[in-house]
Amino acid sequence: MHRFSYLHALFIALLFLVAAPAVAQTDSDAGDETFTPIDEIEIPVGGGLIETPIAVPNTYNLGETDPDGVGQRIASIIRTCLEISGYFEVYGPDRYFFDPDEEGMTPSTINFENWFNIGAQALVKTSFRVASNQVALDFRLYSVDTGQQIDIGYVPVTVPLNDVDAEVYRFVNLIIEHYTGFPGIFGTQIAFVGRDSNGLKQIYTTTVDGTRMGQVTDVGPINLLPAWGPGGVMYTTYRSGDPDLYVGNTPLSQRPGLDSGAAMSPSGGEIALTLSMNGHADIYIVDTNGDILRRCTDHPAEDLSPTWSPDGSQIAFVSDRSGGPQIFVMNADCSGQRRLTFAGNYNTTPDWSPNGDVIAFTGRDSRNRFDIFTVDPATSFIRRLTQDQGNNEEPSFSPDGRYLVFQSTRGGGGSRLWVMTADGQSQTCITPNSTGLEQPAWAR
């Protein structure tokens, strides 16, 4: 009896020895007493967007020549934009069993029954004629059911070659307005970080449909965090060895330490940014010359990444004063700092919707995956927009707050730019042919 108890006790003691290391090491979030896993927030199941089937055949060339590939470009842009908008199912030439070239632009020349038979409800007909650097454009929207042209407020125009894209965007935005009640956002610009031919990170711009890109910087070694500012794109550059804030080629803030995360106020007179010259990252407000107007945080923790509310009265930002990085909000005069996000332990990159109703941000879940969420600044209610689709980060709202652009690694090969409706229902890649694109910022 005695020997049995001794062995038994030893065995149990040894079990504890083996089991002890299994007690998990606590996370880095020591000070966060209200931790709720963000995994518990899932994408709500609901009805999808109603997509109108719309046929977009090739553009008719009413002239002799097309040296600049205008015709191809017009149809291609229209298809891409309608696709990205999320409210259409676009039928291109691969869907037709007949040849639209045997038709014309006017109702009497169109066989609506054919279009009806392939399931289209709407039909876009476009034509162009090039004459000495001017292009005559005729864009029309037809209802397949009635065989009538729909008046969306677009009339044929003749424009210089360089203005053709703008006309196409105008036409597309009117189509979208007809079907959804609000105009499309095509023709606006998105700034982002990509890599040049030497592999160095540079700042670029793109139209939303991804068909026209520009380059903002061409100086190494590293350029990051673009944002639209006074007269151009602001960004952080390492060209002098220390991260400095520039706008275009002009330095805006070259203080020691970080000069980053710049966000221009809606009124345009102030810029909120991250400076760390006083020993830790803090939010400062500077004027458009880069002179400090006020210092908003003086906390030993890191405070960074400011974003303005659309009425300019508040600023949301990231702070790790509670342990891990969370979204906080304060008044524009720096008072009333309070925490907004209480789920998850790594919430960053806030962007305040131009509608004011939500703040989009990147949240990391417990599997170390990154996804886009929104938080209501009044109630702290969090909604999830992406899930199980690679890593999704750095959201930026469109000027009307109805869309978000973000970077996503879904599909493999690196990160690309994606656009989704603000409720997350429709998500489309706008740069399918490039990877390594990050940190998009939509011009507003």
Partner: protein, 231 residues
């Protein structure tokens, strides 16, 4: 109520557990290593890096011993003992040059009259590498290993007061660009603060963060680091 067979099985399991944990603790080897390193302390003056290597091996042996990794502790202890012997040999071989240099620097220290501790240096180590140090995930704390390395760097910097360095803070590729800039800076500052506490003048060090922008490898553990650039 356990039967006899069950009790024997239990005893066997216990024995197996004990054996699996690595046999006997190498106390002899540990004692010998400690004695050897203590005995070689004099050699630090003239065979600095050899002595420090011996001391480093002893520390690793002690860590392995504390983790109950007996075989590894034994190997490290034996290596420490051998290294201590080598340090003694090297110090003897360098003795003459070493003394000459020490005389010169001691004199310089007196001329300064600065009240700073005179550098306990030996030969000028022009081929000394300021090794990287690494950080745990999402942290800017200095590990024991990091402190050891930084201790050596502080000695080197004290012995070479003209040298100025950039302290770079880096992160692994997970996480947001700007937050990683802040984290990288926290790491760089933590290193500079620690070196300052060890006597290195803050003006000689410039902390810079590169966030996640300059990864070293696909292994994220190697990316969470501080690096040193001599200016």
């Amino acid at each position: 109520m356990l039967t006899t067979i069950s009790r024997c099985g239990l005893a066997l399991a216990l024995a197996a557990l004990v054996v699996a944990c690595g046999g006997k603790a190498p106390t002899d080897a540990m004692d010998a290593a400690q004695a050897a390193v203590d005995g070689a302390a004099e050699s630090e003056r003239c065979a600095e890096s050899e002595f420090r290597a011996a001391r480093n091996l002893l520390e690793q042996a002690q860590q392995a011993y504390a983790d109950r990794e007996w075989d590894r502790a034994r190997q490290l202890a034996e290596a420490a003992e051998a290294q201590a012997a080598r340090a003694n040999e090297m110090a003897a071989a360098n003795a003459e040059d070493c003394e000459r240099v020490n005389e010169m620097t001691d004199q310089l220290g007196d001329d300064d009259g600065g009240g700073e501790q005179t550098a306990r240096n030996s030969a000028q180590h022009t081929d000394y590498t300021l090794d990287r140090i690494y950080f745990p995930f999402n942290q800017s704390n200095l590990t024991d290993e990091a402190r050891t390395t930084l201790g050596r760097h502080a000695e080197y910097l004290a012995a070479n007061p003209d040298i100025e360095i950039i302290v770079e803070g880096h992160c692994d590729e997970r996480g947001s660009t700007e937050y990683n800039l802040a984290l990288g800076e926290r790491r760089a500052r933590a290193v500079a603060d620690y070196l300052q506490r060890l006597g290195v003048d803050r003006d000689r060090m410039r902390p810079v963060s590169f966030g996640e922008e300059l990864p070293l490898s696909a292994d994220n553990d190697r990316n969470r680091r501080a690096e040193f650039v001599v200016q």
